[in-house]
Amino acid sequence: MPPAGGVIAQTALLRASRWRAWEPVLWLVAFAAPLVLRQYAAIVNEIAIVALFALSLDLVLGFTGIVSLGHAAFFGLGAYSAALFAKYAMPDPLLGLAVGIVAATVVGFFASFTVQRGTDLTRLMVTLGAALILLELANKFSEITGGADGLQGVVMGPVLGKFDFDLEGRTAAYYSLTVLLVFFLLARRIARSPFGSTLMAIRDNRLRAMAIGIPVGSRITVAYTVAAGLAGAAGALLAQTTGFASLDVFEFHRSADLMLMLVIGGTGWLYGGVLGAIVFKLAQDFLSSITPQYWTFWLGLFLVVLVLVGRDRLLRPWTWFGIKKLDPRLRGDDGL
């Protein structure tokens, strides 16, 4: 009776993991930006870094359903390890990046055991607390970290031994964009794979996920650890491209801003972080150059309007996702 060979099912399934036409376009534009708009190289670099950072949060929050307000912990770890490595060991950026990733990954692995159980709120607070403790630690060990003054004297060597970090920030922008793209492709692979689907299953219904044999605990550990590594990479990029690390990399508002960006762009579809980072950073830059004192008001207004009007309608007026999701508000008792 069933049509032969599962062709229909397979095509339907693979539809989700196909590249859409706009995706390469987006990346081309991103890579052209530092060339075409030279004066924006620095902000492109900054956006690429937070986009990578947001991508990391999307993996745990959007795909696995684990909220975290302490992602800055891994970001900071990456930043400090890369900076320290450059200062005391070797100025090579790629090696430093690897060091940052490894450091964050290792800590992420151990931290993943604290987020296994509990409600959203407890996870938020545990992760937040962990980041703040790291912050205080970095403050206390000021001989190594430079304490509140920050870690200075980080001099980076050229990327691949060829490209020096220039004042305009173009090398930095390309370096960060490339790292972002590499990790994005990795994350994309993971998200569309059976492994990624098991993460979504855990997010949707943990009880059922267990009941179909998904090892929930170890999946969360893997997802969280990978995400920590990505956050570490973002932190390392920041330290390397600014040649500086200071305590604020661990600060609460890093994690909070990150969460805002991701939610602005939408969780669970990978581009959310990228889009959110672009929108948030540009809005911030634009508004604060108009009114350096009161720009937070307008940013706040933007967020409020965004939520009230609906992100979908404001930012994603297109519909490549097969079935258009109903606005959740419309379900339920708005009877006459």
């Binding site: 109903l326 606005d327 419309l330 379900r331 008792d333 708005d334 009877g335 006459l336």
Partner: protein
């Protein structure tokens, strides 16, 4: 007998999606209506619409002369609607007793009356809603609708998950309540036989419209018709 409920040309659904289209029927006071139909034909949607929990697009509902469709959901309970949702929807952070008292309205049915009807619930008075067995939740959902002291009970698959002995008792109770207390009821069921036996009227839905409407006896006596209306399309 006076007419209690009149549904006229009702269209309703979720968001922009229209599920029910041009549904009309009427029900007398003290009468029981069996609402039948295949899976996904809109039975639940119809009950939810009567309770005010969907988006209504057109048509009118009147309960004892009141224009129900003009009332917001929460005032419909006061107007006499008692609703047992399909997925029970027990308030999970309330105890069994609080589930009853939170919504109770003055009248003949009190929490104690419910406990008398379902002794099982009395034993579980201080359990939270989620700490009940499936059947207990079902009993509680029925009890919760009764303490509203409604004029019209909306029962969405009320027998599902109940032990046979409880099913018997509940059916008897429904019959008694409708007979003796003049309450009306609309019952959705997957089992036509059980429910047609105690119903006065029957409405069959298909794809959101009424495809049959008549007395319950008519359907009970005509298995072929039942099969045609409800049999699985193969």
């Amino acid at each position: 007998m006076a007419e209690l409920l009149k549904v006229d040309n009702l269209s309703a659904g979720y968001g922009e999606a229209v599920v029910l289209q041009g549904v009309s029927f009427a029900l007398d006071e003290g009468a029981t209506l069996a609402l039948l139909g295949r899976n996904g034909t809109g039975k639940t949607t119809l009950l939810n619409t009567l309770a005010g929990a969907t988006r209504q697009h057109a048509g009118s509902i009147s309960l004892a002369g009141n224009a129900l469709h003009k009332l917001p959901s929460h005032q419909r309970a006061a107007a006499g609607i008692g609703w047992v949702p399909q997925e029970r929807n027990i308030f999970k952070s309330l105890t069994v007793h609080e589930n009853l008292t939170a919504v109770a309205r003055p009248g003949k049915w009190t929490p104690d009356g419910v406990y008398a009807m379902f002794p099982r619930l009395a034993e579980r008075k201080t359990n939270l809603g989620t700490q009940l067995s499936g059947g207990e939740q079902q009993m509680l959902a029925v009890g919760r609708a009764l303490v509203l002291n409604p004029r019209l009970l909306l029962l969405d698959e009320p027998l599902e998950g109940l032990a046979p002995i409880i099913v018997d008792e509940l059916l008897k109770a429904i019959r008694r309540i409708t007979r003796d207390e003049g309450l009306s009821a609309i019952i959705v069921e997957q089992h036509p036989q059980a429910i047609l036996a105690i119903s006065d009227r029957a409405v069959v839905l298909d794809r959101g419209t009424v495809v049959h409407s008549g007395t319950a006896r008519e359907l009970r006596d005509d298995p072929a018709l039942v099969d045609r209306l409800l049999g699985v399309a193969r």
